[in-house]
């Protein structure tokens, strides 16, 4: 698998925090716009269409799992 899901940051909390702080004070709509720009910037930096596709697959799979969970909880 070319997509790395190992923990690559020396301090993962710093990375998470940087993203959180980038969104602080933004409206929900502005946050979504920021995320879209961020995704395109990072995708370009990676520059590997195979990795990008694997990342999309992983992200989508997690979304499906989560929505299934929610449906189960509602039942």
């Amino acid at each position: 698998m070319a997509l790395s899901t190992a923990s690559n940051f020396a301090k993962p909390d710093d990375a998470f925090r940087a993203i959180v702080e980038a969104h602080r004070g933004l409206s929900d709509k502005d946050s979504a716009d920021l995320d879209a720009a961020l995704v395109l910037i990072l995708a370009n930096h990676i520059g590997d269409i195979t990795v990008l596709r694997e990342a999309i697959t992983l992200a989508k799979r997690r979304m499906i799992d989560t929505s299934q969970q929610q449906q189960q909880q509602q039942q």
Binding site: T5, F16, V20, H23, S31, A59, R62, T66, Q69
Partner: protein, 543 residues
């Protein structure tokens, strides 16, 4: 902050102390003392013991006459246990405490991951013990009574402070009326609601978290392992977080996140707490020891030193509890300050040395505040976007390593690394080992007579002074006279399991200079008497 003590199941360890009139109260003019500590909590008591062991007389004042009430710390770190070993109370704490190293994080009904805070062998003390704060305080008070140079005075409430150039005068209210004391230094360990802090006119600003947290200590027999269990969105407490942690005497700490808008007066009623806990445990066979409802705050004083008043512990900095960074950082304050004040009182270092207490410990407070703020933010996201980010991390944590590492259920207290003018920069290349500004790493040793001990014991036995840790290369290290020496290899201690050499990246001749608080001040591949003396002088604030 709202808290309540339902007063049920009072523990035998909660001790009442009597007020005793002191001869100082018979004098119209304030009697002069070198050091007065305000506040007989874990920090004030530990500091007083430390300074007394270093040969000073200390007065400790406390406005209460009992321990065992109010907010309670339960997690004491390895670093705190090392310190308490040096104060002669470590064994008693560990004997009574519940030892733990492992934490587990759950999301919904399933376990996300587990972590081991001390995954390597060869340490005298575990990563943590859990121990009710009133036990810790009771053991410290016992130790104080064995030290005649400490005068511990209950129901002595400081009501006024007057700063002078060479000290401070305190007005103290007692059941017999007021009296005054003068002190060269006043150490304010009087907690988050410090009255000394108001008396020096200092602010205490920071961040208040909106979510309320319910903390309950319940007594029950249960088969849960001795681990820290943390849940995001558990089935028994949907949408919020929960923590379960074992204490001695079959007491369990339970911490439940509530909504920002719930009514604390209603929520803290035992009859309303009981069903919440019963849902979590799956039964209601438990008794309440203590119930409390909090909004957490993260804040610190801008300066820890105000004239002759020095602040330590919660009076100087306050954090949310996720990470066990409150009491543990206060104990680090105490150890950092005591050796410096000892030298200043003796005149062997200039009073400027105390400024490095502020430099080192305020940076540590910033780090603790940063870590506990991040953990609390992760538990209680403040916006829809933050909630989405957290949801993504929790979802990704199921199958990815990076996701697990980003889940933040509290990053537990480890000693800070100081960037400090007291350190001497490395002159050689080091691939491993603790850099200057780092707390010493423990390792098992063996004495010439076959006795097993740890490096922390050897450091303690050297008298908690500047000490050179030397890895033998045939000849003994040439250390200045007032400096202690721990020699490993040759005719010194044997590196019983090879851990000391490994952990310190040692080569023959390697030497570390340890400060009296066990922090690395300098390290050398080829030490000489001159380079060691220069590093001691720097670490003692002499240049």
């Amino acid at each position: 902050m709202v808290q309540t003590n339902p007063g049920q199941g009072a523990s035998p360890a909660k001790v009442q102390f009597g007020y005793i009139r002191h001869g100082d109260q018979d004098h119209a003019a304030p009697v002069a003392h070198a050091v007065v500590v305000v506040g007989a909590g874990p920090v004030g008591l530990s500091f007083a013991i430390d300074l007394a062991q270093r040969g000073h007389a200390v007065v400790v004042l406390d406005d209460a006459d009992r321990i065992g009430e109010g907010s309670r710390a339960i997690c004491f770190s390895k670093r705190s246990l090392d310190y308490w070993d040096r104060l002669g109370v470590g064994d008693r704490m560990v004997e009574k405490g519940v030892v733990w190293n492992v934490g587990r994080i759950f999301h919904g009904p399933s376990e996300l991951y587990q972590f081991d805070l001390l995954p390597e062998p060869g340490h005298k003390r575990p990563a943590f013990i859990n121990l009710q704060q009133f036990y810790a305080e009771a053991y410290l008070v016992d130790r104080v009574s064995a030290l005649p140079s400490i005068s511990l005075r209950w129901r002595n409430k400081v009501t006024a402070l007057e700063q002078r150039n060479d000290g401070a005068v305190l007005t103290i209210e007692t059941p017999d009326g007021p009296y005054r004391l003068s002190a060269q230094y006043v150490i304010a360990c009087d907690g988050a609601r410090s009255s000394l802090r108001s008396m020096v006119g200092a602010g205490f600003s920071g961040k208040v978290f909106e979510d309320q947290f319910l903390i309950a200590d319940v007594k029950m027999t249960a088969a849960f392992p001795t681990e820290r269990w943390f849940w995001f969105d558990p089935p028994f407490h949907a949408g919020r977080s929960a923590l379960l942690h074992r204490q001695p005497d079959d007491v369990w700490r339970i911490d439940l996140q509530l909504t920002p808008d719930c009514d604390p007066q209603v929520e803290k009623k035992p009859e309303n707490v009981r069903p919440r806990i019963a849902r979590m445990l799956g039964h209601d066979k438990f008794e309440f020891e203590w119930i409390s409802l909090y909004k957490f705050q993260c804040r610190r004083m801008e300066r820890f030193i105000h004239g002759r008043v020095i602040f330590a512990g919660d009076s100087a900095h306050q954090v949310s509890p996720f990470g066990a960074r409150g009491a543990n950082s206060g104990l680090e304050d105490a150890e950092n300050l005591s050796w410096k004040l000892d030298r200043v009182l003796r005149g062997t270092s200039p009073s400027d040395l105390l400024e490095t207490y502020h430099i080192e410990r305020s940076a540590a407070a910033d780090e603790n505040i940063r870590e506990s703020t991040r953990a609390t933010d992760f538990m209680a996201p403040v916006s829809a976007q933050e909630a989405r980010l957290r949801k993504a991390v929790l979802a990704l944590a199921k199958e990815t390593e990076f996701g697990k590492r980003m889940v933040n259920g509290g990053r537990l207290s480890v000693p800070s690394v100081y960037e400090t003018p007291l350190s001497t920069a490395d002159a050689e290349a080091w691939a491993s080992g603790p850099c200057p500004g780092t707390s010493l790493l423990d390792a098992p040793l063996k004495a010439a007579d076959g006795r097993h001990l740890h490096l922390t014991d050897a450091f303690n036995a050297e008298g908690r002074r500047f000490t050179v840790l030397s890895f033998a290369n045939g000849t003994a290290v040439d250390a200045p006279g007032e400096v202690g020496v721990i020699r490993i290899g040759g005719d010194g201690f044997a590196d019983a399991e090879g851990f000391a050499g490994q952990r310190y990246g040692a080569e023959p001749g390697t030497a570390y200079l340890l400060r009296p608080d066990g922090y690395v001040a300098a390290r050398f591949r080829h030490p000489t008497r001159e380079t060691i003396a220069a590093a001691v002088a720097r670490a003692a604030g002499l240049n």
